[in-house]
């Protein structure tokens, strides 16, 4: 009986969002309640299943499901520690984003289409996380591209279509590069399952050119989604999408899919040993460092809140890449835990930006003056997210940066510390003015006289509850994971478990 | 003897064909061309068939060839009439148009 569960569980996790998604497509716009019910049923059943799997994996059980696909490359879904890190993050944030999106889109058109694709997106993300080999990863990676496109162009305006085209141009090109890389590796080595330490070391002598090309292709391809420097351009453009989509794209699905792919590639395909033989990580490290600085500087130049957050993402996601590229165990812990922490903080920030826009029609930084008086709770959440990004203890961001810094010292790359310091200062430079304006500056008009804003009945009612509560929830998570980082079930502890397995001799 | 006669007839028939063709090419209008052509058809073909009949070893073959000659004569007569009438009609039309 147990073996059956172990095969079915990975599929069930993917299907728990896929099936509601497909059902939602067939609904009419007016079937409001049914749609919400389906969404929530999907969310909670997924959380339940993920919890089950987490428990199992921590007990050392193996979860694996496979069907035949290409010659020598089955479709494999498996739950290991690394994939669960990502799956758990996605599922929890899906819960928050779903509730947020229901509130955000209340009364607008095309909701069936929106939630349908939204669920497909989550399914693709989860599938990508659970993928047991490169070909399976590729399948879900491309599906993710397809599923997010309708969300980017959801509004149907000219600007949205243009952004959608830019998004596609980048991600499809990236997808093709990844495809080529995967196919090249398949041609050289077949497609075995991901295994800690990689499976390519026997080929280093014979196929150096092939392996190098494949790595470059795949890092470039994955780098598109992870918004690495030369190919990051889609991310700020994609900001025209509705707020829940921005939150989902930036915190969970797309950028993390890219980063996660790089993690898989480095640890479970090439392996640290092979990569250091091929000397490929130097370039990746420099690229990531450059992206961190460049993203921060560009963020500083933006005057729109969402654009600033977008460039901040460009910068922050590269911390993960940088941590991975250092090839040391402590840096790896930092990278893995940053995957989660950055997600929590950034989604909070985007929720807040959405709340500002939705409640008071505020899009620009200069309009934020005195916002704390009108929306104190949202502003507080925003503060938590921003401080976490800068790396102020005890918020989660501090933990990951701490480990990354230690990792840099451990691997002897002390120049990276300077990158972190520099970036931290820039972070402060682009977030603190927002906080200052929000809490201390005088509003341009009295909030009571603001054309958009009715005076809230109470503090808890500053905006729609479905917009407020998810924001507070994720902000709380960002603090809790920071404070309780030392406990057994924190993301940090889980990251240490993963690294212990990856770097096991 | 028969051989020689046959050859003579064949040459004669061929000559009529040639003359008819020359006429077709040289005569000025449709009517005189038709005149040349029909001579070639009927007489030329008749002579050729006569010449070939002398060489035939079966009566059936001779009858067959005669039959062919008759058919060709009938059809060329009809076709000739058709063409002449058509030409006459169009001549009339054009002279009417001229007035």
């Amino acid at each position: 009986m147990m073996t059956d569960i172990q095969t079915i569980l990975p599929v069930a996790i993917v299907l728990s969002s896929l099936i509601p998604g497909l059902l939602i497509f067939s609904l009419k716009e007016s079937q409001h309640r049914l749609r919400i019910t389906l969404n929530l049923a999907g969310v909670f059943s997924k959380l339940l299943l993920v919890g089950w799997m987490l428990h199992g994996v921590s007990q050392g059980q193996q979860f694996s499901f496979n069907i035949t696909f290409l010659p020598g490359a089955d479709l494999i879904l498996q739950g290991d520690a690394l994939s669960l890190q990502f799956v758990a993050l996605s599922s929890v944030l899906w819960l928050a984003t779903t509730i947020y999106a229901i509130g955000y889109l209340e009364g607008s058109a095309f909701r069936s289409r929106f939630f349908g694709y939204f669920s497909l997106c989550v399914s693709a993300t989860v599938g990508l996380a659970l993928a047991g080999n490169l070909v399976t990863f590729l399948v879900f990676y491309e599906l993710l591209t397809l599923a997010t496109f309708p969300l980017v162009v959801h509004r149907g305006t000219d600007a949205a279509i243009r952004a959608g085209k830019v998004y596609l141009a980048y991600t499809v090109s990236g997808g093709v590069l990844v495809l080529m890389g995967v196919a090249l590796l398949h041609a050289l080595a077949g497609t075995p399952d991901f295994i800690p330490g990689g499976y390519l070391s026997p080929l280093v002598d014979q196929h150096q050119a092939g392996l190098t090309l494949a790595f470059v292709l795949m890092v470039l391809g994955l780098g598109v989604k992870a918004a690495l420097l030369p190919v990051h351009g889609w991310l700020p453009q994609a900001m025209v999408a509705p707020a829940p989509v921005s939150a989902l794209l930036h915190a969970v699905a797309v950028v993390k899919a890219g980063a996660f792919g790089i993690i898989r590639l480095v640890y479970d395909v090439y392996g640290i040993e092979t990569l250091s033989l091929l000397q490929l990580t130097e370039g990746l490290m420099i690229l990531a460092a450059a992206t961190i600085i460049y993203g921060s500087i560009r963020a500083l130049q933006q005057t729109e809140i969402k654009k600033r957050l977008a460039y901040s993402t460009v910068s922050q996601v590269s911390y993960i890449t940088l941590g991975v590229a250092m090839l040391g165990p402590i840096a790896a812990i930092g990278a893995l835990v940053h995957l989660v922490h950055q997600g929590l903080m950034k989604i909070t920030l985007f929720f807040c930006a959405g709340n500002f826009a939705e409640t008071l029609n505020i899009h620009h930084i200069r309009e934020m003056n005195g916002l704390g008086q009108r929306m104190p709770l949202t502003m507080a959440a925003f503060t938590i997210g921003a401080l976490g990004m800068i790396g102020v203890p005890p918020i989660a961001g501090f933990i990951s940066k701490w480990y990354l810094g230690l990792g840099a010292l451990e691997t002897g790359q002390s120049w990276i510390l300077w990158v972190f310091v520099c970036s931290g200062l820039l972070n402060a430079a682009y977030f603190l003015p927002l906080l200052y304006r929000g809490w201390f500056a005088k509003p341009a008009v009295e909030w009571a006289a603001h054309p958009q804003a009715k005076r809230p009945a109470s503090v808890w009612n500053e905006t729609h509850w479905m917009l407020l509560w998810p924001t507070l929830f994720t902000a709380l998570l960002a603090i809790v994971t920071g404070i309780l980082a030392g406990s057994d079930f924190s993301p940090l502890a889980w990251a240490q478990l993963i690294v212990a397995r990856e770097f096991a001799p | 003897m028969i051989e020689a006669l046959s050859i003579l007839l064949l040459w004669l028939g061929g000559a009529f064909f040639v003359i008819g063709t020359v006429g077709l090419l040289r005569f000025p209008d449709v009517y005189s061309r038709l005149h040349a052509l029909t001579k070639a058809d009927t007489l030329g073909l008749g002579l050729v068939i006569l010449g070939l009949s002398l060489r035939a070893d079966q009566l059936f073959t001779v009858l067959l060839m005669l039959f062919i000659w008759l058919l060709v004569m009938a059809s060329s007569a009809t076709a000739c009439q058709l063409l002449a009438r058509y030409q006459l009609q169009s001549d009339k039309d054009s002279s009417d148009g001229g007035k």
């Binding site: 162009v153 279509i161 090109s173 041609a187 | -």
Partner: protein
């Protein structure tokens, strides 16, 4: 073998029945005939899987004299594909409101086209192929003229080029017969030598076939003919008819041609395939009309077939034939879906241009979705049939660094196809100024358009048995 014959004969008989009795409800008869043909085709496929390739000498005469039929995995698969697509297309024609005007004449012609296709797939005889190619050409042109006066010019050009191609093909065939005294493919394969006559004959045959298959640079007639035809006809032509010459081309070069000729020719064919991919894709990205875009996409996608065929010959790699035929089948299904969806959209808006697609996600969501899903397979997104074919194609390209330039070609082609597919899809997401609501009528036609697109993605799940089938054959 008998099942395959049934699959071929049933459409012929049904066509004659429809012509003779002229029943009021023709569509049911046609649909039933298509179902029977499909069932028979499946049985034929099963029998090939069970007992391997089968050969039949028509009339019971010995081999060089008789026309020979052969049922192999490849053509069994093609017969099934033909039957599936015909079934879908006739159901579409029966249910779409926009096809009412063409119906009377459409049924018998479509049936005859079906029968002729199966006859072509089965045959292994050079001259018999000439007759079946003529059948296909005449049926196809007649079907194009169903669209009315606007299509006549395109139909005439199509017919003249098709006749010219047939005669070129025939001259080559005659030369081969003159040299080797047989028309049978298998016998020729044992006899051919790399001499001047053979070379000229093969070149003539190839030129004719490439013109008929609209392989670049002989493709110029295709966009006009395919885009001006009625919707179900466009689907049949693009999905099936252009594949028939490719089948002959493949048999000829991979079996009959001696390798001294095949290896250099393979290089040129592959190069032409690359040209088709580039030029076809580029034209599809530029054209302002929806159906023309889909037609140019056919030109481009046929380039993949030619590329696979060329590389198969150039590297003498029999593994690539799986790629070739999966491309053909995947493209057939995807293109059916695309043309049906595009035609249904065009008919309901009444406009040809691409920008009339605004707001289609609301008014005709299923049709647009079908277009997008089919487009996914054309681009080669996993896990679709198109992806598997592309995967098989690029494997041998990647394994040797010297072959990497070909892979670059495939990358560019993929990006071009993505560009033209999303050109259409993103228009559909654009907000429309008129507040349109979902139209209820025509729903069934839209779902029928979606069906082949779903099938092509399902192909991915059955790729293992499909590839085994191909392996049986190459072994």
């Amino acid at each position: 073998m008998n099942a395959a014959l049934v699959s071929m004969v049933v459409p012929f008989f049904a066509a004659m029945l429809v012509l003779m009795w002229r029943p009021q409800q023709q569509s049911w008869l046609v649909i039933v005939a298509s179902i029977v043909s499909l069932l028979a085709a499946m049985m034929a496929l099963l029998s090939v899987i069970d007992s391997g390739p089968q050969s039949l000498n028509l009339g019971g005469w010995e081999s060089p004299l008789a026309i020979r039929f052969q049922l192999m995995p490849v053509n069994a698969l093609l017969i099934v594909t033909t039957a599936v697509i015909h079934l879908i297309v006739v159901c579409f024609a029966a249910s779409s409101h926009h096809c009412q005007s063409i119906k009377q004449a459409f049924w018998p012609l479509a049936l005859l086209l079906h029968g002729s296709l199966v006859a072509l797939w089965l045959s292994m005889d050079l001259f018999n192929w000439y007759v079946t190619l003529e059948l296909l050409g005449l049926a196809a042109v007649s079907l194009v003229t169903l669209a009315g006066h606007k299509a006549l010019r395109a139909a005439l050009d199509y017919l003249l080029l098709s006749l010219f191609a047939s005669l070129t093909y025939l001259l080559g065939v005659v030369m081969l017969y003159g040299q080797y005294g047989t028309l049978d493919i298998a016998l020729l394969a044992t006899l051919t030598e790399a001499d001047r006559v053979t070379q000229t004959a093969l070149l003539l045959i190839s030129a004719g076939l490439m013109l008929k298959a609209a392989l670049w640079p002989l493709h110029l007639w295709l966009p006009a003919a395919h885009s001006s035809a009625p919707t179900p006809v466009s689907a049949l032509l693009s999905a099936l008819v252009v594949k028939a010459p490719l089948f002959i081309l493949w048999l000829l070069w991979s079996r009959v041609a001696p390798s001294e000729l095949a290896v250099p020719m393979g290089f040129w064919l592959a190069l032409l395939g690359g040209g088709a991919l580039m030029i076809g894709g580029w034209s599809a990205c530029r054209t302002p009309h929806l159906k023309t875009l889909v037609a140019y996409s056919t030109v481009a996608q046929l380039g993949y077939g030619l590329l696979a065929l060329g590389l198969l010959l150039h590297w003498q790699l029999n593994d690539l034939q799986a790629a070739l035929w999966l491309f053909v089948v995947a493209h057939a299904l995807a293109k059916t879906s695309m043309f049906l969806a595009a035609g249904e959209i065009q008919a309901s808006t009444g406009k040809k241009r691409l920008n009339s697609l605004r707001g289609m996600t609301l008014t005709m969501p299923v049709a647009l979705f079908a277009f997008a899903v089919a487009g996914g397979s054309l681009i080669g997104l996993p896990p679709s049939g198109g992806f598997i074919a592309k995967w098989l194609l690029i494997q041998p390209m990647l394994i040797e660094p010297a072959h990497w330039p070909w892979a670059l070609l495939v990358i560019i082609a993929t990006l071009l196809s993505a560009a033209y597919v999303f050109r259409v899809v993103s228009q559909g997401f654009r907000q429309s100024s008129v507040s349109a609501t979902a139209t209820e009528h025509g729903k069934s036609a839209q779902w029928l358009a979606l069906l082949p697109a779903i099938l092509v993605w399902l192909m991915a799940l059955f790729s293992e048995p499909l590839l085994q089938l191909m392996d049986v054959f190459s072994a």
